[in-house]
Each structure stands twice: as C-alpha cells, then as structure tokens.
C-alpha cells in the first residue's frame, strides 16, 4: 500500500554467488529459506510504503547477509505509471530490465 504521500519503495540486492539483481518478494517475512524471500523479476517485487520499507530492510538485510545470499542491499523509490509500478530512477529501471542498449540481455530478454 502506498504511504500518505503515495510514495512506494522496493528492496533490492545482488545475489552473492552470481551477482544477479533480486528484489524482496511478497513472502519475505514468511519464514523458511532466505532465498525464497527474494524474486528475480521486479514485477514480482513487494512494494512498501516508505516507513514500512525501512522496517523490512532492517529485517531482511541482515538475514540475507548472514545466509550469504545477497550483497549491496537497499531500498529504492517506485512510482506508478499507468497503473504499473516503475522504478523512479533510471539506474533502477536499468537494473530491473537490463542494458537499454542491449534489449536481448538482462531480465527484459526473458520477458
């Protein structure tokens, strides 16, 4: 759910063993294997109001680090464009999709 100002956040990391971009998924707090808390597609990512994102990040980050699952874990801003959640910054759009100059590579290639 969006916060009062409507801003949303998602939480991302790079998977340690292969560097692949991952996002904290909707089942992030369901328990079980750490890997099941994370998803590879931004479309499947959990979206948090800003305050809740801080709480989720504070809980998920140490778990992912302790399990040697993820590195460089942080939250980023998301906006809704035509009803579709989209990263606000170009950097995060490119991480979520792949290089804008190679549409055959990255997550966009599998879409």
């Amino acid at each position: 759910m969006p916060s009062q100002d409507g801003s949303l956040k998602a939480i991302t990391a790079n998977r340690l063993r292969d560097g692949v971009v991952v996002f904290l998924g909707p089942d992030w707090n369901a328990g079980g294997e750490v890997a099941t808390a994370w998803v590879e597609s931004f479309a499947d990512a959990a979206l948090f109001p800003a305050a809740e994102a801080e709480t989720a990040l504070a809980a998920a980050k140490p778990r992912a680090e302790r399990a040697q699952f993820g590195v460089d874990i942080y939250a980023f801003d998301v906006e809704t464009e035509n009803g579709v959640p989209t990263p606000v910054k170009m950097r995060e759009r490119i991480r979520a999709l792949g290089p804008s100059v190679r549409l055959d590579l990255g997550k966009q290639a599998a879409a």
Binding site: D18, G19, Q68, V71, D72, V88, K89, I94, V101, L105
Partner: protein
C-alpha cells in the same frame, strides 16, 4: 595446468616457469578466497578488496571481470581464449576499455576461479586491473611498428609490470596509480593525463632515457601532468619512478578518496616542493640496488624482437590496384591504415565503432575472426588501443585488401579511425554502478548521425569522448568535443566541453554552457561541427585550432541562441 603456448612470433613478454607458477598460485589463492566468501567465512567487507585485487567488480547487473592486457598487446591464441570465455561464462561478447583491457559484464562470482584458471593457461590474468596499486601500464598501440618510433615502450612497460606486481610498497597506495609510456614523436598514449606520463627518447649518443610528467589525471579534478624531469637515464628509470611512488606513499592523502590521487599531492605541495622531495628520495635510492642493469633490459627487449619481416618494396602495386578498383577500400586505407617502419608493411586499425554501434564492444565471433586475421596477416599478434579499437600492427601492404574484405564482411570494416565516428564512451549507466547517466546511447546516436564516410573525412580529425559520470573513464575532459552525463533530478543531461587535447599539447576542455538533453546533445554536436566547418581557414585547420582562433562565442551562440 594445461599450458597453451600463446604464440612464439608475437611481440609479447613470454612467461617463464616462475611467471606461470606465480599466476597459477594467485588463481588458487583466489579460488579458496571465493570458497570462504561463499561459505560465510569472509564478510563482504573483508572480501571486497580481495576480489577487486583480482579484477572483479560488482556492477549493475552482475559481476564485471576486467582482464589485463599488458600494454594492450596480446596474441591470437589469447584473444581466442577471451572469446571462448565470453561464450562459456558471459553473454557472447566483451568490452575493450580505455586502459587497453577487456571487460566481461555478466560474470558469476562462483565461476571466477575457473575463468582465471583458463586465463592462466594462456599466460593471462586480472591482476593490477583494480585496487589501489599500479595499474596496467599503457602505451602506444603502434609500438614496435610506428614509423615515428624512437624507443620501444613495451620493454619499459614490461619492466614496470614485473617491478610493480609484487612490490610490497605499492600494494596499498593511497589510490590507484596509472602510468603511460610513449616512445614516438606523436603521443598516441595520452601520457600527460596519467599519474606518471613517460616520454621515452634518445640522447645524442643514442642512449635511451625518459622525460617524466607527474600529476596528470582526469576525473573530478582534471590536471595536465607537470614536467618533473626532462631526462632520466635508462639505468635510473626504476629508481626515479620508485622515488616518485615513495613520495606519494608518504605524503598522499588517505583521508579523502577524492583528494588521494598524486595529482592532488603535486597540486597541493607545489611542483617545486614535490620535485625537491622526489630528488631527495632519488638521491637516497640511486645506487647498485636500483640500477636498471642493461643486461636485464636486453633480456626483456629480446621478447619484443621484430617478427620475421620479409624484404619488400616500399610501394605495393597490389595495394594501389585494389585502391583504384574499390573506393570503399581506398577510403579505409586512407583513414585506418598507418605508416609502418618496415618497407612493404602497414599498421591497420580495426574500428570497433560501427555507425550506431557500441564503442569497444566485440562479439566472441568477431574476436575469433580477428584472431584468425592476426594469425594470417600480422604474425599472430594484435593490440588494444586506448581509444577502444584493435590494431594489427604488421600487415603486408599486399594483404591489406584481403584483410579489409574479411573485416568488412564481419561488420569490422568501418573507416573512421581518428574521425568523428571514432567515439570513446565508457559503459555508463547501462552497466556501471558509479554512472549518473548513459553514455552508449548518445555515442550510438552520434555515430549514426555522422555515419557518412565522406562527411567524416571532410570534417577531419575530431574526437568525441563521452563519460557517464565525473570519474571520466570516457576521457571527456581531453576531447575536442567532450560530453559528460549528469543526473538532474532523475533526468539524464549532458554537459558539453570543447577544446580538450589528449596529445603532448594536452589541454582540458572548457564547458560550453548549460547541460542539455540527449536529443539536444546530438544536435548541439552537429551545430558545433557546422560552426567549425564554416569558420575553418581550410581543410587542414583542425577543430581545436579553429576553436583557439575564433573562441567559444560562435559555438555558444549557435547552440544556446534560442535560450
């Protein structure tokens, strides 16, 4: 380890058993370090400097592995190995960089030890491609072949490579340290924008020596290297450089990453004080221990002996006939082929800048083809240039047409070396975790806009260089037209500079005006070119000379007139 001889006739340093054992041991060390990291015995904080010392970065999409190509020279066997690794562990391509290295963009940490093991099979590695050490020493891509060469820079670059690789004092410098060597009358290695820039030359007695420039660099605070010593004799080469590095190690700042490069030290200490410190240290070091023994130099030089050239006439009738019959080939020869010092031979630049393409990228199939062509036409050797092209340095003039025909069929026959389409661009925000804006799409749009080979030749020598952030990996400061990508409230903008110069008359470009959007940037560059063409005295007046003569005003007026 299954060692594969990398090519006997190529002008590279050929490893001995000690070199191979050392590289092999480093691979095994890193294998264990990766295992410990994946097992949780090392934290990311502990592991990061270790992986960086092995060339492994974490970028936007995956790990990036930077492979060292010492002074940009490698063999066809080595390039085929790079192609093979690109297919097996990456996505079928690689990116040649402004430090004459190669980067893969889609590497898995868990695969890295295996990749380094495969590299070691052909005497390659990723050492000194990252971290606060002396990085891969760069030199002229025409080294050992150029008609204007005085001293072979490979010899001294290799001496520096061996001297710095395991040197304990240089493992934890305040910041990275980049050295370039040029031994020709034309500087093709941008020596004056390096931490240390070396001009190798000869005195009246024919002895080799060096002019030292120190404190050059780009990035956030660009500086042109300052002349520290006009002549350092060959025997003092190592001692003098060590003196510089010791002064840097002692006084260089470690409290602020943005002020840690030697350029800031030279600037803050003042040139005279810096020189005095270096001379004092040099006087202390100078002696038998640091004397560069001529026998050692001769031993290294033997690795770079000229290949077995044939005695050929200076002029090739076959070449002249082919040029007369094929205008596109004649244009490629005029633009991409340089004079060789050996009669009957030529230096061919393979442009990795097709119109609308990604500067510096080559597919693994293209790498294999270039390796084949290097074997058939250039003694199995090739070079990576700091402008992100490939050079076959020893091609018979008689064989240029056959070479070009195969290159052209593979999309590698673009005739734009040194022209406006020969754009340097860093990976930018499409790949790099540090970038603020994309570089590649702008390079693609510009090279497409100026694709016409006739127009490019009419414009003449004019370099465009694009960086996606202030770290300036795309060398924008020293471009005739430089472009810096910036982020303004989440939108990419591009700041244009003009008048930069990467040669011995080095200059930092001036900002022309407010940053513009990507579309506006393409139009702005075209406007700059039109103003230049309208104002130049004749075809021989280069862009930077016209700019010096007429000033910035006509260019500014044209671009910002509507504002």
């Amino acid at each position: 380890m299954n060692h594969i001889a990398p090519g006997a006739r190529a002008g590279i340093y050929h490893y001995d058993e000690i070199d191979r054992r050392f590289v092999g041991e480093r691979v095994e060390q890193f294998r264990k370090q990766v295992e410990r990291r994946l097992a949780g015995e090392l934290t990311e904080e502990e592991f990061k400097p270790i992986r960086l010392m092995n060339g492994l970065y974490l970028q936007l999409h995956a790990y990036m592995l930077r492979i060292a190509v010492p002074y940009g020279v490698m063999t066809s066997v080595q390039l085929r190995k790079l192609a093979s690794i690109g297919r097996r562990y990456d996505r079928g391509y690689g990116h040649f960089t402004t430090r004459q290295n190669l980067q893969y963009n889609w590497i898995k940490l868990e695969d890295t030890p295996a990749i380094l093991h495969e590299l070691a099979e052909v005497d390659m590695h990723a050492l000194q491609t990252s971290g606060n050490c002396v990085r891969n020493v760069t030199t002229d891509q025409f080294v050992g072949a150029a008609a204007d060469e005085v001293v072979d820079g490979r010899v001294y670059a290799e001496i520096l490579r061996q001297w710095t690789t395991l040197h304990p004092e240089f493992t934890y410098l305040p910041r990275k340290f980049k050295i370039a060597i040029s031994g020709a009358s034309s500087d093709r290695a941008a020596v004056r924008v390096h931490d240390v820039g070396l001009l190798a030359k000869r005195n009246a007695a024919g002895e080799a020596g060096f002019t030292f420039y120190v404190g050059g660099g780009l990035g956030r605070s660009p500086f042109i290297g300052k002349l520290v010593r006009e002549w350092v004799a060959e025997e003092d080469f190592v001692a003098y450089l060590e003196a510089i590095l010791r002064v840097y190690n002692q006084y260089g700042r470690r409290d602020n990453i943005y002020k840690a490069r030697i350029k800031i030290l030279v600037h803050e200490l003042g040139l005279e004080k810096f020189k005095a410190e270096v001379e004092e240290e040099f006087a202390r070091l100078r002696g038998p221990k640091y004397r560069l023994d001529p026998e050692i130099v001769a031993g290294i030089r033997a690795h770079f002996a000229p290949p077995p050239f044939e005695d050929l006439p200076t002029r090739s009738d076959a070449l002249e006939r082919a040029k007369a019959e094929n205008p596109a080939f004649a244009n490629w020869v005029a633009v991409n082929v340089a004079e060789h010092r050996q009669p009957g031979y030529a230096i061919a630049t393979i442009s990795l800048k097709p119109a609308g393409g990604i500067p510096g990228d080559a597919t693994c199939d293209q790498m294999d083809l270039i390796a084949d062509l290097a074997e058939r036409h250039s003694f199995g050797e090739l070079r990576v240039s700091h402008v992100q092209n490939i050079v076959l340095a020893h091609v018979k003039q008689d064989e240029l047409f056959a070479l070009w025909t195969e290159l052209d069929a593979a999309g590698l026959g673009t005739a734009n070396a040194g022209l406006i389409g020969d754009i340097i661009a860093c990976p930018g925000l499409d790949y790099c975790a540090l970038a603020n804006a994309r570089s590649i799409p702008l390079a693609q749009a510009l090279s497409a806009r100026f694709a016409d080979p006739i127009r490019q030749r009419a414009i003449g020598e004019l370099g465009i260089k694009i960086s996606g952030c202030i770290n300036a990996c795309g060398h924008h400061h020293i471009a005739a037209i430089g472009i810096l990508g910036v982020d303004k409230k989440g939108t990419e903008f591009y700041q244009i500079t003009v008048g930069g110069d990467p040669t011995l008359t080095a200059a930092i470009g001036d900002i022309l005006g407010p940053a513009v959007t990507e579309t506006e940037a393409v139009d702005a560059v075209e406007a700059i070119v039109e103003v230049y063409l309208a104002n130049r005295t004749d075809q021989d007046e280069r862009f930077i000379d016209t700019l010096k003569r007429v000033g910035h005003a006509p260019f500014k007026e044209r671009i910002y007139a509507a504002d």
